[in-house]
C-alpha cells in the first residue's frame, strides 16, 4: 500500500473510513422506491402469460373493471392507441411493452390493472380473462438455428430465420494455420447457464404525471437514470413528453448488479397509466415476477480450443459461441460491441494469435443478456480461458499454476497489445499468483492431495488468474444508443469551505457517498465528512451513463479528480490575490496553497472558499464550482489470482469449500474496507452460479424454478469465509491510478471453483463438468464411470 497523503480526519484515498450512508440504513431510514408514497397514489399489478409462445385470441377486462377500486386495465390495444406498445431495447432491438397479438415467453406482461391498493390490483389481475392459442415454443438456441425452425420474430418484416447477429474478431486464417501446425490442441465445451442477478430489492417505480405542469417524475430502480430519461423522451416525445419535462429519480437502490440497467415494460406501463389517469401509479414486482421475467444473464454456449507447443507455450486461442438472447436482444452493451468485451478472452496470457466468433439467436425465453456484475460478457470470456488452461495443463501433465506462470504476460510487457486488439494498461500477474500460492500453501496442498487420493478421498485445488476490462469507455468506441460513455462530476464549494458534489452515476450499495467524498478529500484537502455526495436525480445531477460494468471509479471517480483540479486552479488565483504574490510563487500541498520557500505564508482551501464569495479578485468570477465530463483515454484492466480448495464427501458428494484465497489488484485503492466488502460480495455471486444457481426451462418454455423456493441463492451457511489480499499496480492513465474492483470476484470465482471440483475428480478420469456443479452432477459423472452406486 502506498503512503497515505491525507490525515485520518481528512480521510482521502487509502483510508478505511466508515460509510456515511450507513447512518440511514441501519436505522431503517433508507428511501427505496417502494417506500415512496404520494397523495392519491394508485397501484399497478401485471397479468402475465402462462405460455411461452401463444396467440392472444381475446382479452376480456369486464370482470376486472367491475371490481370496486379498479380504475383501469391497460392492454396492448390501449397502448397501441398512443403508439407505445413497442419500445427499443438498449441494443437497438425492439421489445413489446404489452402485446396486441402474440406472447413470446412465459411470464411476459399481457395487461396491467390499476387500482386503489395492491390487493385490489391483484384481484383485478385474477379477473382479467385472456384466451390464448398456445404454439410450439422454441426454447433451445440450437433448435432455433435449424432450417425448419419456426420464425419467432414475425413482427420483423422480411425476417427468415431466428438469427440476431454474427460477430467476430481476430485473424481466422492465421489462427487456423497455428492450430494445424501445433504440437497440442485441446478443446472444451463450456456452457454458462442462464442465471439471474436476484438483487434483494426487486424492480419497480412510482410514476407521477402532473397534468397541470405537463411534467413527469418517476422514482425508479435504475442504475442509469440519465440514459433512461433520454430514452423516455425519444420513445414518448410524440405524446408530449419532452426531455425537460421528465425527471427520473433513482432513490436508494437495494442492489443492482446489472439487472437494473434495462427498461422493463412495467416501468413504461406505469408511466403510461399515470399520464392517462392523471394520478401517481406505483408498480413493484414480486420476487417471482422478477426471476421469471426480468433480464437474465449469461446463457453462452462456448466451444473453446487452444493450440500449444509440447513445452506448454500457448500459441493460439479460438472460441465459437452460440448466444441465447431470448425473444429480443435486451442486453445493455456498448453499441459497437454486441458481445460486450468478450474479446478479453485471451486473458492474462501472452497468446499471439486468436480468433473468436459468435452467433446470437432468438428463443421463447425472457429477453436480456445483461452484464450481471461484469463488464459486458467478461465473466463468460474469463471462464472460457481459465477452463481451457486447466484442460491444457491436464493434457500436458503439467501443474496448472506452473503452466500459468510460464505463459503470463510479463510485468515489463505493459502496455500490452492483445491479439484481439486491447491495450492492457498495467499488470503484474506472476506476483498476484505467487502471493495466492504462498498464502494458501500451494505446494503442501498438492502433497496433501496425493496422500488423500491414495486413501480414496476427494480433494481438489482450482486456480483462476483473470484479467478484466472495465471502465467503459473512451468515446471514440463506446456509446449506448449513441450516447457516449463518459461520466461526470459537478463540485460546489460553499463559502464556509464545505462542499456538495453531484455525479452522473448511481450507487446501489457500492458506497459512493463515502468513496467519492474521499476522492475529493484527497484532491482538495477538505475532510470527507464535509462533502455531501448526491446522485440519481436527473433534475440536479450532471449527465452520465450510470453505474455498471465497474465504470464508476474509472469514469466518474476520474471526473471528480479532474473537477477538483479545476477547483484548485481557480483557488490558486484567489490564493495569489489574498497573499499578494504571483501564482507561480505558490505550491499546493494537501488542503492549502503556500508560498514557495515560505510555508508559513499560506491560505487553506477553506479560507480560499470564503474569499471566493466575499473577496474575490477583480476580473475573476465569484464562486468556487467546477464540472468535469471525463472521457477515459483507455479502459482499465484489473486482475487477480484466486485459489480454491474443495473437499467432496465420498458418500453424499456434497462439495465443501475448505479455503478460498482471492488476490485482487485494482490499482490504487480509495477505501480498503469497501474494496474488501465488494470482493466478499462478488465472490459470493461467483460461488452461486458455480455450485447452485441456474434458471431451468422445460421443452415448452415453462420455467421450473421461478421463485426462491428453488432458485438457490446462497445463504451464510453455504458461503465460505473468504480470505482476501491484494497487490497494487496503478493504472498509468487514470488520474488516481485506480481501476475499479467490484466485478473482479464475480468473474474470477466461478472458474476457480469449477477447476477445483474437476481437479478433485480428475484422477478418476473426469475431465469436464458444467456449472452449476451440484452433488447430483458429481454422483452422475462418477456413476457413469462405474465409480458410484
Amino acid at each position: 500500500m502506498k503512503e497515505l497523503k491525507t490525515s485520518a480526519e481528512v480521510g482521502g484515498m487509502g483510508h478505511s473510513v466508515k460509510r456515511k450512508e450507513d447512518a440511514r440504513f441501519i436505522r431503517g431510514k433508507g428511501n427505496y422506491t417502494d417506500d415512496v408514497v404520494l397523495p392519491g397514489m394508485l397501484h399497478m399489478d401485471i397479468v402475465r402469460s402462462p405460455y411461452a409462445y401463444a396467440k392472444i385470441k381475446s382479452i376480456n377486462t369486464d370482470k376486472a373493471m367491475a371490481i370496486p377500486g379498479v380504475h383501469a386495465v391497460i392492454t396492448g390495444e390501449v397502448l397501441k392507441g398512443y403508439n407505445l406498445h413497442w419500445m427499443p431495447t438498449l441494443m437497438s432491438d425492439t421489445q413489446m411493452v404489452l402485446p396486441t397479438d402474440t406472447v413470446m415467453y412465459q411470464a411476459q406482461e399481457v395487461a396491467a390493472v390499476i387500482a386503489d391498493d395492491r390487493y385490489i390490483a391483484a384481484d383485478g389481475v385474477e379477473a382479467v380473462e385472456v384466451e390464448y392459442e398456445p404454439m410450439k415454443a422454441v426454447v433451445d438456441p440450437f433448435k432455433a438455428m435449424e432450417k425448419d425452425a419456426p420464425i419467432l420474430r414475425t413482427d420483423k418484416e422480411g425476417k427468415t430465420d431466428n438469427h440476431i447477429w454474427h460477430w467476430e474478431t481476430g485473424d481466422a486464417e492465421k489462427t487456423e494455420q497455428v492450430f494445424k501446425n501445433a504440437d497440442v490442441v485441446v478443446e472444451e465445451k463450456v456452457y454458462l447457464p442462464r442465471i439471474h442477478v436476484c438483487s434483494i430489492e426487486t424492480c419497480g417505480c412510482v410514476a407521477s404525471f402532473d397534468p397541470a405542469e405537463g411534467k413527469l417524475t418517476v422514482w425508479m430502480t435504475t442504475q442509469a437514470p440519465h440514459a433512461i430519461r433520454t430514452v423516455f423522451a425519444l420513445v414518448a416525445g410524440h405524446v408530449g413528453l419532452s426531455e425537460e419535462k421528465i425527471r427520473i429519480i433513482s432513490p436508494d437502490i437495494g442492489g443492482g448488479f446489472g439487472g437494473k440497467v434495462p427498461i422493463y415494460p412495467g416501468y413504461v406501463i406505469a408511466v403510461a397509466a399515470s399520464v392517462v389517469i392523471g394520478k401517481p401509479v406505483k408498480w413493484v414486482e414480486d420476487r417471482s415476477e422478477n426471476l421469471q421475467a426480468d433480464s437474465f444473464a449469461r446463457d453462452y454456449h462456448m466451444t473453446v480450443e487452444m493450440a500449444a507447443s509440447k513445452e506448454g507455450k500457448m500459441e493460439a486461442l479460438r472460441i465459437k459461441t452460440i448466444a441465447d438472447h431470448g425473444y429480443t436482444d435486451a442486453a445493455a452493451n456498448p453499441s459497437k460491441y454486441p458481445a460486450g468485451m468478450f474479446s478479453i478472452c485471451t486473458g492474462s496470457y501472452d497468446i499471439k494469435t486468436a480468433f473468436t466468433e459468435m452467433d446470437a439467436y432468438y428463443t421463447n425465453k425472457p429477453p436480456g443478456g445483461v452484464a450481471y456484475r461484469c463488464s459486458f460478457r467478461v465473466t463468460e470470456a474469463v471462464h472460457a480461458i481459465e477452463r481451457i488452461v486447466d484442460v491444457l495443463a491436464k493434457k500436458l501433465g503439467r501443474d496448472p499454476a506452473e503452466l500459468r506462470l510460464q505463459n503470463f504476460i510479463q510485468p515489463d510487457e505493459f502496455p500490452y497489445k492483445s491479439a484481439l486488439g486491447w491495450e492492457y494498461d498495467s499488470g503484474d500477474y506472476p506476483r498476484a499468483l505467487k502471493l495466492a500460492m504462498d498464502k494458501i500453501g500451494y505446494e503442501d496442498l498438492r502433497k496433501e492431495q496425493l496422500i488423500k487420493r491414495s486413501k480414496g478421498e476427494l480433494m481438489g485445488i482450482g486456480i483462476c488468474s483473470f484479467t478484466e476490462i472495465v471502465g467503459a469507455g473512451p468515446s471514440k468506441d463506446f456509446d449506448i444508443l449513441g450516447i457516449k460513455m463518459f461520466d461526470s462530476c459537478e463540485v460546489r464549494i460553499h463559502p464556509t469551505g464545505k462542499a456538495i458534489a453531484r455525479f452522473g452515476t448511481k450507487s446501489q450499495g457500492q458506497g459512493h457517498e463515502t468513496t467519492y467524498a474521499q476522492i475529493l478529500a484527497e484532491e482538495l484537502g477538505i475532510p470527507y465528512t464535509d462533502i455531501q455526495i448526491e446522485e440519481g436525480d436527473t433534475d440536479t445531477a450532471p449527465y452520465g451513463l450510470g453505474t455498471y460494468a465497474s465504470r464508476s471509479t474509472p469514469t466518474a471517480g476520474a471526473a471528480a479528480a479532474k473537477a477538483a483540479h479545476k477547483i484548485r486552479e481557480k483557488s490558486k488565483k484567489i490564493a495569489a490575490h489574498l497573499l499578494e504574490v504571483s501564482e507561480e510563487d505558490l505550491e499546493w500541498e494537501v488542503g492549502k496553497f503556500s508560498v514557495k520557500g515560505s510555508p508559513e505564508q499560506s491560505k487553506t482551501i477553506q479560507e480560499i472558499a470564503f474569499a471566493a464569495y466575499t473577496n474575490h479578485p477583480q476580473g475573476l468570477e465569484a464562486g468556487l464550482e467546477a464540472t468535469h465530463y471525463y472521457d477515459p483515454p483507455n479502459l482499465t484492466f484489473p486482475f487477480g489470482s484466486y485459489i480454491c480448495v474443495v473437499d467432496i464427501d465420498p458418500k453424499t458428494y456434497a462439495i465443501k469449500i475448505r479455503r478460498f484465497i482471492a488476490i485482487d489488484d485494482c490499482g490504487n485503492i480509495i477505501n480498503p474496507m469497501i474494496v474488501e466488502g465488494q470482493i466478499h460480495g462478488g465472490l459470493t455471486q461467483g460461488l452461486a452460479p458455480a455450485l447452485f444457481e441456474e434458471l431451468i426451462y422445460d421443452e415448452d418454455g415453462n420455467i421450473l424454478n421461478g421463485s426462491l423456493m428453488d432458485y438457490l441463492v446462497p445463504t451464510a451457511v453455504e458461503t465460505p469465509n473468504w480470505e482476501t489480499d491484494q497487490t497494487v499496480t496503478p493504472s498509468p492513465h487514470h488520474p488516481l491510478g485506480a481501476k475499479g474492483v467490484a466485478e473482479s470476484p464475480t468473474v474470477g470465482a466461478p472458474p476457480a471453483i469449477a477447476n477445483a471440483v474437476i481437479d478433485a475428480l480428475s484422477h478418476l478420469g473426469v475431465e469436464s463438468m458444467g456449472i452449476p456443479i451440484t452433488p447430483f452432477k458429481v454422483w452422475q459423472v462418477l456413476k457413469d464411470k462405474g465409480l458410484a452406486a
Partner: protein, 160 residues
Amino acid sequence: MSKHTVTIEINGSSFTREVDSRLLLVHFIREDLQMTGTHIGCDTTHCGACTVLMDGRSIKSCTLFTIQANGKSLTTIEGLESGGKLHPLQEGFHEEHGLQCGFCTPGMIMRAVELLGKNPNPTEDEIRTGISGNLCRCTGYVNIVKSVQYAAEKMKAEVA
C-alpha cells in the same frame, strides 16, 4: 372482505386499526403505519428482509396476517435505537461494514437481535446457521458475521 379491529403494540406505541382479514402484517407495518424500514424481498418467505420481532421472537412479517398479530407486541428496526443510542447490532453493522445496499439490513439485524438474546456467545457456525433464513446479495456474509460478533462482545461488556 371482512374487516377486523386489531390492537398491536409496535416499538412501545399501541395502534388500533380496522384492517382487511387478508392484509399481510408487513403491509400493515409499511403502508398503514408508514414504517418503511421493514422491507419486502420475496414472495415465498425465503429472503427475511421483512423480519421483525413479535413478543421477542423473530418472524417474517410477509407470512403473517395482521390479524394474527392482534394483541401482540412488535419491534421493528425503527424501535432499536433508544435515547439516541444505537443498538450494539446497529453499531456493529456500521463498524464492521456489514451492509452495502442496506436492503436486507433491517431484517438481518432483527434476526440477530433474537439470536444474541438466546445465545450471547455464538460461534461463527451458530451465527451462520442463525441468519440462514435471511438472504444478503451484497456482502457475502463475512462482515455480517463480524458485525454480530462485534455486537455480542459489546453486549457482554455492557452486562459486565
